[in-house]
């Protein structure tokens, strides 16, 4: 695999020099006659050498295991498949055995010829492979061995063909491009198209990844809703998972915790962040700004787990001793208030930094216009700058909100892990994200509703933050149109 990639790259490098040389030669050594710079001719040849070969290689690597698995499964009798549970399990046995035999050959347990003629009746394959450090789960059955042997044989053949075809393609591409290289070839345009292709691929990958994430969540959530009624999930007021069965998996208490904590976080972050941004953008002198702005942004660089520790050992006990206990509102140091305040502190740089940029983007001419009418600085900020920047600021706040909704670590350490529907802000509660972690860590059975509920929770969360983000984007876009 690695050797074949190296070969392609070397061929590409060779193509680069050959193409460049041929182009210069075709111009009689005068690079000014060429349509493009010599480097473009080289790149053109290199691209035609590398790109088709690598594409074919990629596709081949994806398709080959599928084809081989299809051929190998035919050798397993139907009852063997049902006995093992599923096709996937059988195939993983086959693959492990085939890999094991290969490793055995490499480590000298038997020769290549012996490996090809292994027989379950004469050799205890499991013991032999165990000697060279390959552990198999069960004794090898003849059908599995046959399937493994066929898959080994097929992948050997396939690898040989793959090398031949891919290298052949690289050489063909090199030759074709090299032959076409002459002083009138529009190599520059070809390279331009290749760059365009690269950029499109990058953006497509980003989109496809999102689609992939959504699909995997939807798939697992669909499994969950086959095991658990969706009405009970979305409208259930109790969260009591138990792996012995009979769990109550209601979303509402978790959603309530999420919204409550996020709300407190925003109540802390929005005024402080916004006022800080206004000071930075409108009042601070350049020197103050150059010191204070990076200092505020340091907050954004602190890992959330560190904020969590701050909540756990400082803010939590402080709130309990000076507010909750004297007011008779509870004795828990984990509370919605603790997590909310600390999360709010975390969000301050988000709000302030984005709002600062947005306030700075308001044209100076508007401020001049307001000052020119005899408005004071705060009147100008309140009546001209903020209304002009408002859509952008709302966008910043919504981005902060979706960040708050997705936060986990601060909640675990600050608000605890008890799902509860309560109005008391000094009571421990928990959020959707914490419960996702809770349901998937430890010894879990991925076919039980108690584990699968995590995906339904994740999907719900994703839907909420997606809506917030889209809302934010729409508002920000509207704002952009304002001063054109």
């Amino acid at each position: 695999m690695l050797s074949i990639l190296t070969a392609i790259v070397v061929l590409g490098g060779l193509g680069f020099f050959l193409g460049r040389q041929r182009a210069i030669a075709s111009a009689g050594g005068d690079a000014r006659i060429l349509h493009s710079l010599p480097v473009y001719y080289g790149t053109n040849v290199a691209l035609l050498t590398v790109v088709p070969a690598v594409l074919v290689l990629g596709v081949w690597l994806i398709v080959q295991p599928m084809v081989i698995a299809g051929a190998a499964i035919d050798l397993i009798p139907e009852q063997g498949v049902t006995q093992a549970g599923s096709r996937d399990l059988v195939m993983s046995d086959v693959r492990r055995l085939a890999d094991g035999i290969n490793t055995g050959v490499e480590r000298g347990a038997f020769t290549a010829a012996e490996a090809a003629s292994l027989d379950t009746a004469t050799t205890d394959i499991r013991a032999v492979l165990a000697d060279v450090g390959v552990a198999l789960g069960t004794d090898v059955e003849p059908a599995i061995l046959a399937a493994a042997q066929r898959s080994r044989q097929m992948s050997d053949t396939a690898s040989t063909w793959m090398q031949v075809i891919v290298l052949g393609l690289a050489v063909a591409g090199l030759t074709y491009a090299w032959l076409r290289t002459n002083k009138d070839l529009r190599a520059r345009n070809t390279v331009e198209r290749a760059i365009l292709g690269l950029l499109i691929t990058a953006s497509t990958l980003a989109i496809l990844t999102t689609v992939g994430i959504v699909l995997s969540m939807v798939w697992e959530s669909a499994n969950f809703f086959q095991l658990y009624r969706w009405q009970d999930f979305f409208f259930g007021l109790e969260w009591r998972p138990s792996f012995e069965g009979g769990s109550e998996l209601g979303l509402i208490p978790l959603l309530w915790g999420t919204i409550y904590i996020s709300l407190i976080a925003l109540l802390v972050a929005v005024p402080i962040g916004l006022f800080a941004a206004i000071y930075m953008a409108e009042y601070a002198s350049r020197r103050v700004r150059s010191v204070a702005k990076p200092l505020i942004e340091v907050l954004a660089g602190i890992p959330t787990i560190v904020y969590g520790l701050f909540a756990l050992i400082t803010v939590g006990p402080l709130l309990r001793d000076y507010f909750a206990a004297p007011l008779g509102l509870g004795t828990s140091s984990s509370s919605v208030m603790t997590a909310g305040i600390v999360m709010g502190i975390m969000l301050i740089p988000f709000v302030s930094s984005l709002s600062d940029d947005i306030i700075n983007a308001v044209p100076q001419s508007l401020r001049d216009g307001s000052y020119g009418l005899g408005a004071t600085q705060s009147e100008t900020v309140k009546q001209v700058v903020l209304p002009a920047a408002l859509p952008g600021i709302v966008g910043a706040i919504l981005l902060a909100a979706s960040r708050a909704i997705g936060e986990t670590m601060i909640v675990v350490l600050g608000a605890g892990a008890a799902a509860r529907l309560d109005l008391n802000p000094f009571e421990a509660m928990t959020t959707v994200t914490v419960k996702i972690v809770g349901q998937l860590t430890g010894d879990t059975d991925f076919s039980s509703p108690e584990a699968l509920v995590a995906f339904a929770l994740g999907l719900t969360l994703f839907a909420i933050t997606l809506c917030l983000n889209i809302f934010a984007l729409v508002i920000v876009r509207k704002y952009r149109e304002q001063y054109e």
Partner: protein, 288 residues
Amino acid sequence: MKDLNEMSQTDQESAVDVLKMQARGVDVFYGAGGRTGSAAGMAADLAADKNVTHAIKGVDVDIADKTVTAFIGPSGCGKSTFLRVLNRMNDTIEGCRVTGKVTLEGEDIYDPNVDPVQLRAKVGMVFQKPNPFPKSIFDNVAYGPRIHGLSSNKADLADIVERSLRRAAIWNEVKDRLDAPGTGLSGGQQQRLCIARAVATSPEVLLMDEPCSSLDPIATAQVEELIDDLRSRYSVVIVTHSMQQAARVSQKTAFFHLGNLVEFGDTDKIFTNPSDPRTESYITGRIG
């Protein structure tokens, strides 16, 4: 054009000697940092500092009431800077220092007791680029009266807005859409809206910084007509790059060059019989 000039002449004579603003020995420095000190000493000190830009050098100008005064000169000569001296807009620029004496009706506007915010309500300003606030047309015009509490009730405010829009010759175009955003108007309409906004606070002096530079000839003609109209109530100071415009709208002209006031006098005289060779070179297009 000839008629207009003759008319200006007579109007000006009727209003002559009513002094509105006076500037004496004004210097402006950029990049002065936070330097303070006695005015006279500081000016000499700053003038000697190589790192400080000396934008205006000892300018004396008299601005008469009910007169249009034009500032002309090549780019970077300091005419806009000087205009901003007259309503202390330079205060909003970091590191800008103004020395010398500027009076509005005999009162020193750079006196520590004068509130620049109050001053700017009396000396309104219209900018080079139309800059309507992203608010409705009504709120744009009502902005100044609201901040300064010039109206006692809603009807009164609506009255001020209508009067200002009429005075800026835009009422007929916008009266049916006062709730529409001011940014949605055309360039010429936006500029007249900005003039209406400036007029709404009933200023005594109206400063206009190249008000027509981003407008087409038709809108320019409308604004010029408006300026001539405004002269009946206000003293107008206009910065312009167009010498024809200065000749058309103004009665007094000041020619700036490299931060110096080269010549100041009646527009007719400046354009027909300038006393300084530099003025002549500029108006005939040889420097600039």
